[in-house]
């Protein structure tokens, strides 16, 4: 292993996801679940309180990968496969039950359901969002015109955000999130809602971010988008990593699989999935802790020294 002091040969790793597991305990109205627990006291209590039994949902199981600067990573998978959860975990907005995520700088997530403050106007939300990301008031003020232009909402920018359509809201959120020039940008289907003109502008903006040595993660269930704009793709299925590789290859396989599912050919879909599984190369992430000099050395390992008077002041 390399000495920690030497030049880091992995200088370009920006995000490392190490064996991440996410579980949720959520109420379920499934009748089978209701009958399963046999403890009559627990069942009666639930019935009286009107609570549904809780089930454990495994949103992500054992995800590991390392992303590097200049990469645009697409994440594909059907609805509910854990794509958005993975993004929230990478962004640090949620913590995994097991495993951890390391990043070079604070990742910025643009989500579909992340409304800002609905009562405030778009303009005020821009300023607030910039300040929330840690920009100074001057920087935020300077960023406002650029964000306005990227969002391209015209006079609507002065109206309260609760009056916006979902597409307008998504455009504004995208524009705000890119204002801080984040090095690690996580995009959750944000582009799917924009119209053609906005799509072009936002793609140019993302290109710019990627060139400034950033890493972009893009979630979409449209494999086409991934194929066109990403360099690498990760396919998730039921919270598991199916395949991690070049975007064209992964997206193509995913499309074939999705097509087989859509055409109700479960056998074919299973074959594709199993082949992808068997061909994937597992990644194991090892985190090397930099060695710090010990602050306190226990007495028995201390080198012999002329005895000093004990320190009895607290400084």
């Amino acid at each position: 292993m390399a000495e920690p002091d030497q030049v880091d040969p992995f200088a370009h790793a920006t995000v490392a996801v190490q064996d991440v597991h996410v579980r949720y305990r959520v109420p379920s109205t499934d009748a089978a679940e209701r009958r399963r627990r046999t403890n009559p006291v627990a069942r009666a209590t639930r019935a009286v309180l009107g609570n549904d039994p809780k089930v454990v949902v495994r949103a992500l199981s054992g995800i590991s990968f390392v992303a590097r600067s200049g990469e645009q990573v697409g994440i594909v998978g059907q609805n509910g496969s854990g794509k958005s959860t993975l993004l929230r975990i990478i962004a640090g907005l949620e913590n995994p039950a097991k495993g951890r995520v390391l990043a070079e700088s604070t990742p910025v997530l643009i989500g579909v359901n992340a409304a800002l403050v609905p009562d405030l106007s778009g303009e005020q939300n821009i300023r607030l969002g910039c300040l929330a990301m840690g920009l100074s008031p001057e920087q935020a003020q300077a960023a406002v015109p650029e964000v306005k232009e990227l969002a391209g909402l015209g006079k609507s920018i002065y109206l309260p955000m609760k009056t916006y359509s979902s597409g307008m809201g998504a455009r504004l959120r995208f524009a705000i999130a890119t204002a801080a020039n984040p090095h690690i940008l996580l995009i959750d289907e944000a582009l799917a809602t924009g119209d053609a003109a906005f799509k072009e502008r936002s793609e140019a903006r993302m290109q710019g971010l990627r060139q400034s040595a950033g890493t972009v993660f893009l979630v979409s269930h449209a494999a086409q988008t991934i194929e066109e704009s990403c360099t690498r793709a990760i396919w998730l299925n039921h919270g598991r990593l199916v395949l991690d590789g070049p975007a064209e290859d992964v997206a193509l396989r995913y499309r074939k699989w999705a097509w087989a599912i859509a055409k109700d050919k479960p056998e074919e879909a299973r074959t594709i999935l199993e082949r992808a599984f068997s061909e994937r190369e597992q990644t194991s992430v090892h985190v090397e802790e930099p060695q710090r000099p010990r602050r306190y050395t226990s007495r028995h390992v201390r080198p012999q020294q002329p005895s000093r008077r004990p320190d009895n002041g607290k400084g």
């Binding site: 200088a11 790793a13 962004a91 495993g99 995520v101 992340a114 409304a115 597992q282 194991s284 090892h286």
Partner: protein, 317 residues
């Protein structure tokens, strides 16, 4: 590619501890024999995301977000009255009407003023200052829930949310205090203003510390047990009636233990000190100052540390 990939004999889980999840992980069993590529990253350059920073760093982060806190509090204060005809004027009209309503009920109808000098002033100070605490505690307890959209969109020190609620309360308090002073001066009970009144801002500062601490405490508690939020309004009502807002503590002269209990109550100390400064032209006693300061700073430190300790859990709320 900068990856130094090398074949490793067999898959080894990164954590040695077996959890039930591993046992049920059939896929992991099936694909155990697959080749594994090892990626090494240095923790010196990459930092864990979403991890709770040490207290000092957390405080520094909060300080660097002060502009955000201020902007959010200001924006929300003005958005509350935006759709009314009178707009921001309501921020001063509302407390005046409130004060008059309390005077009508407690002063004229129920006639609780018998043994209190300047009953209106006594009442107005009690009601308005207590309202501020109530606002902070209630808003603070709900702050994680109402700020969920912000939590899911940006990473920032989560203590910003309850602190922003308190800031909003302070901004609301400014017109309220103006209305309060106006009522005290204009209504027919004459006042002598002395330099003791200059101590009033200090009382307010201590009250704000107290409210911030309690708001932070309940902000975390309600994410652990959401049922607490149902109890807060009851708790606040009980606290209101035990803080001598509407009546004098002299009623309980015969029961010294009740008096002792009430005098240990920090909100009673706040109201007592504020009334001494503004109405009775006396400097509050040293015991009040000591008690109030230790309550406020203690609550602030405890609430902050308690909230900070749960920093990693708020994303799931």
């Amino acid at each position: 590619m900068h990856a130094m990939t090398q074949p490793v004999p067999a898959s080894r889980p990164t954590s040695a501890v077996k959890t039930p999840a591993d046992a049920a992980d059939l896929y992991a069993e099936i694909f155990r024999e697959q080749p594994v590529s090892l990626e090494v990253v240095s923790a010196g350059r990459l930092k864990q995301v979403g991890a709770r920073p040490p207290v000092r760093e957390y405080l520094a982060q909060l300080w660097s977000r002060r502009h955000f806190l201020w902007a959010e509090a200001r924006a929300k204060v003005s958005s509350g009255t935006r759709e009314t005809v009178l707009g921001q004027a309501w921020m001063i009209i509302n407390p005046i009407l409130n004060g008059l309503a309390y005077y009508l009920i407690f002063g004229l109808i129920l006639d609780t003023r018998r043994d209190i000098d300047n009953f209106l002033g006594y009442l107005v100070i009690g009601v308005f200052l207590f309202q501020f605490t109530t606002q902070c505690v209630r808003g603070g307890a709900r702050s994680i829930q109402t700020g969920r959209n912000l939590i899911r969109a940006f990473s920032f020190p989560r203590a910003s949310l309850p602190i922003s609620v308190v800031l909003r309360g302070v901004l609301n308090l400014v017109p309220t205090i103006a209305a309060m002073l106006l009522l005290i001066v204009t209504l027919p009970e004459n006042e002598t203003w002395t330099r003791a009144a200059l101590l009033f801002p200090l009382v307010l500062a201590l009250q704000t510390c107290l409210a911030t601490g309690i708001a932070l405490f309940f902000a975390r508690l309600t994410t652990v047990l959401p049922d607490i939020s149902q109890l807060i309004s009851v708790g606040m009502r009980i606290w209101l009636y035990t803080s001598a807002v509407f009546f004098s503590i002299d009623r309980f002269e015969k029961f010294p233990w009740i008096v002792g209990l009430m005098e240990a109550n920090p909100m009673y100390m706040v109201l007592d000190a504020a009334r001494d400064c503004l109405l009775y032209a006396t400097v509050p006693e040293a015991s009040t100052w000591i008690g109030l300061t230790s309550w406020s700073l203690g609550a602030l430190a405890f609430g902050f540390l308690f909230f900070w300790h749960g920093e990693e859990s708020y994303g799931r709320a």
